[in-house]
Subunit: 243 residues, 2 copies
């Protein structure tokens, strides 16, 4: 069923009025009066609507039912990634939104080789990728994509969550399995992964000092764009959100 976020919609007296990009989209989909669609408020609530009238400028739909969006996970997972090169950011955003992330942040760390600058402009594009993926996968929110800043700022965000996980490829680590199994009831999780070259040892040492769990995902070396999706999926599994 076609799915829209409410930004372009007004809901008044049991009717939804849509303009702009979303109205055009309804037009392009050639939807006809009587067909159903979902308008989501972006806060986890879905308005099931039936189309009454649609042209290129304005769409009118009757609100049939208001329900909690069933696709939202019970746990809020914040993904924090060392900024990678090229379009790996796009991939991370799309897949993490599908897999149930609550928000996705990028940060700068010692081994980042991506060119910085222009983050403002990128943020707009990143947010659009998040919106598209949220629509397509039936999410009840549009996960925010943000620029966290330097590593220390990423730590600051991570340690405020119930469970803060730092993915590291070497040295003394806890098994991700075990850490998640022991923390199935948390309501927020931060997952931090490195850029292409991973993290420096001093970065992992710092993560430990600030109270993060230094975690291993097995002996397979995951690409920087694969690691967040795998860790996020593990968190979804452990908390009963792959059911």
């Amino acid at each position: 069923m076609p799915r829209f976020f409410i930004a372009g919609t007004n809901i008044l007296g049991g009717m939804a009025y849509m303009r702009g990009r979303d109205a055009e989209h309804v037009h392009v989909l050639r939807m006809r009066p009587g067909e159903d669609m979902i308008i989501c408020d972006g806060q986890g609530t879905d308005y099931k609507c039936r189309l009454v009238k649609a042209d290129k400028e304005q769409v009118e739909a009757e609100v049939v039912e208001v329900v909690r969006c069933p696709a939202e996970p019970s746990v809020k997972v914040t993904i924090l990634c060392g900024l990678p090169k090229g379009d790996k950011t796009d991939y991370i955003i799309q897949k993490c939104v599908e897999a149930g992330a609550d928000e996705i942040l990028f940060f700068n760390s010692a081994r980042c080789i991506a060119k910085k600058g222009n983050e403002e402009k990128k943020l707009e594009r990143w947010q659009r990728i998040s919106e598209e993926a949220a629509k397509q996968s039936g999410r009840g929110i549009i996960p925010q994509v943000r620029w966290a800043g330097e590593l220390a700022e990423a730590f600051d965000i991570a340690v405020k969550k119930d469970l803060a996980l730092f993915m590291y490829e070497t040295g003394e680590r806890e098994a991700l399995n075990a850490v998640l199994d022991e923390n199935r009831d948390v309501s927020s999780i931060a997952i931090m992964t490195g850029p292409e070259g991973g993290f420096e040892k001093f970065e992992a040492d710092l993560a430990k000092i600030v109270g993060m769990h230094i975690c291993s995902m097995g002996e397979r070396i995951l690409r920087c764009e694969t690691a967040p999706v795998v860790a996020l999926t593990a968190a979804m599994y452990a908390t009963g959100n792959l059911a």
Copy 2:
């Protein structure tokens, strides 16, 4: 540490002799005598070697230690995907190899829109993507990429595994969580996912009749190239292979 598969190598009397593409690669990496590398037999055994001599044509290395490759999961997971369009195949192969798949097969089903034909030529390219991903992630095998044929043939392959899972987006399903939790000790798993449009109902009905578990991964709709990676990661988590 640089990692090679043994196809281009002869091991004789404690020495490894490498020619062709792999020898060129060592040359390109500018490795010097005394540096370490791993040559893997593709059956899960790693030969840790020390470089003795390298030119563009031939590489000689001393075998220092022979160990079981630590990256190989304890469970063999067969991924079966409805053939998707474009380069989604490449993505599925790369990510599933990283995430620990044992083999990756594509099949034809009712809603496949990808153009068939030329599978032989594609297989060669697909196998190369698998090899690259296996090297990079430190796998002990090069997962085979194969063409399974039609849906019935895919079923035939799936039901021979200890646990056969059919991912479906609607109707009566078991939670993937629950099915995996009850089957943590299996040694082989088949995971079957659909093409872009998913499966037809009759296909899911057939899957049930042949004895597969019809599974749900939650209410989020995953893209056809995301679903196998997420399901595989869940299987790795459940069997203790994300530790």
